[in-house]
């Protein structure tokens, strides 16, 4: 049953050193910036972070990397024009990178939440990202065995939650949120608004509350101010 935290700091309390943290977002869309900032403040270190990217500019995940709190990152696209903190850490050999094609990253996270022990995917077959992995030819097509990515914690941003923890998202800010919420032992969600149970149409709920452990409301004005 979802619990409601008063602040982002309360929501992330209890994240342990060495935890694997799934962080939602693609670019700024769906990035749970206040939860990431709270993770920064709570001091947890030696983290494995799963995100599409490896932090941008001088905010959020980039600052966690700058402070060397992330020992390993699993992502699809670390190198960006403003990924200087990752670039520096990587070149210094101070962060481990597991590079995963974006669709394999998403499916590996989905598999974890769905109880799948592994799956054969065509993506990456015959490339250097499949080196050392088990492969199989099925009906004449090559596939690579990929494993699930479980999280100890997921940090997700959604638009609205009800009191049961049911979630709806907004446009392309949905991205990794629903699959990360399902793949972590504890999913922590920041939302722009909370409504009474029954006020969300059951037909439009994207993440059922069964996947949600902690919800914190972050006023959208503040969220936008941080994102820019």
């Amino acid at each position: 049953m979802a619990k409601f935290a008063a602040t982002a700091q309360d929501a992330v309390a209890g994240i342990q050193d060495g935890a694997t943290v799934l962080i939602g977002g693609f670019g700024n869309a769906g990035q749970p910036m206040e939860l990431i900032d709270a993770l920064m403040d709570c001091g947890a270190t030696d983290l494995t972070v799963v995100n599409n990217n490896a932090g941008q500019a001088d905010a959020g995940l980039a600052l966690l990397i700058k402070e060397r709190r992330v020992k390993k990152i699993i992502c699809s696209f670390p190198r960006q024009s403003d990924s200087w903190h990752f670039d520096t850490a990587y070149r210094a050999g101070e962060i481990e990178l597991e590079l995963v094609p974006q669709g394999n990253l998403a499916e590996r996270i989905r598999a974890a939440g769905a109880g799948i022990g592994g799956f054969f995917t065509p993506t990456g077959y015959g490339t250097m990202l499949a080196e050392g992995k088990e492969t199989r030819v099925i009906d004449g097509k090559g596939y690579v065995l990929e494993s699930p990515i479980y999280g100890d914690v997921a940090l997700v941003k959604a638009l609205t939650a009800d009191k049961k923890g049911n979630l709806v998202y907004r446009k392309t800010a949905r991205n990794f949120g629903p699959i990360m919420a399902a793949a972590a032992k504890k999913s922590i969600v920041q939302v722009s608004g909370i409504v009474e149970t029954g006020q969300l149409d059951p037909e439009v709920i994207v993440t059922p509350g069964i996947y949600v452990d902690t919800v914190v409301e972050i006023a959208p004005q503040a969220a936008e101010g941080e994102a820019h």
């Binding site: 769906g30 190198r79 499916e107 090559g142 446009k171």
Partner: protein, 214 residues
């Protein structure tokens, strides 16, 4: 045609070749410009891998919404009939063969359709793959848009790619400023040339080129 195609004309040609009613993903960079030449009559639905079908043109001014971006993280718009879905669904739709066409850029393409477009192989480069390998694998047709020759004059449509591969045997057509190539089970067939001839191209390339079919 008597002249090499401009970048705009190349984008126009790719757009014209996409069948009406298709579901299409346009890669970041030059392929994105194809959308400028798709017509309303073609009724093409654009997919963006960060979770949307029915993507409209780039957003400007008041239209800009930070929750509505494309795979290149550029603010875009939605068209009537658009839909949103999470990342795993978005790539399942691609991997599952539901997209008709994907248009990508490339460093190299091999005669058998291998694609190299994600990594130069430079040992000190920070690798980044994004959705490139998924895009290469999933669509029914993968069209590549690129220059036919590198700056040093070496052809980029080759017998075997020297750059790290993105996908194996996935490319079906290559659109260049000099010619359009169809990668068929018979070999590489020249569909049309622009400001050059099959003979001239053959003299500059190391792969066997087949003439256009009637």
């Amino acid at each position: 045609m008597s002249e090499k195609l401009s970048r705009e004309d190349l984008a126009r040609l790719v757009a014209k070749d996409i069948q009406p009613g298709s579901f299409v993903n346009l890669g970041i960079g030059q392929p994105t410009s194809v959308s400028n030449y798709l017509t309303a009559e073609q009724d093409i639905t654009l997919h963006t891998e960060n979770g949307m079908l029915g993507m409209g043109p780039e957003a400007h001014g008041d239209e800009i919404d930070q929750d509505l971006i494309n795979a290149g993280k550029v603010p875009v718009t939605e068209v009537p009939g658009a839909s949103y879905f999470h990342h795993a669904d978005s790539f399942a739709m691609m991997r599952g063969g539901h997209l008709d066409v994907c248009v990508l850029g490339a460093f190299q393409v091999s005669a058998s359709g291998d694609l190299a477009n994600w990594h130069t192989g430079a040992p000190d480069a920070i690798p980044a793959v994004g959705g490139a390998m998924d895009l290469a694998t999933g669509a029914k047709d993968v069209y590549v848009m690129m220059s036919l020759f590198a700056k040093d004059g070496t052809p980029k449509l080759v017998q075997e790619c020297s750059y790290p591969l993105t996908g194996v045997g996935c490319v079906t057509r290559v659109y260049t400023n000099d010619a359009v190539f169809l990668l068929t089970p018979d070999g590489v067939r020249v569909r049309e040339t622009f400001g050059t001839t099959l003979e001239e191209l053959q003299s500059k390339m190391d792969i066997k080129l087949l003439p256009p079919t009637e």
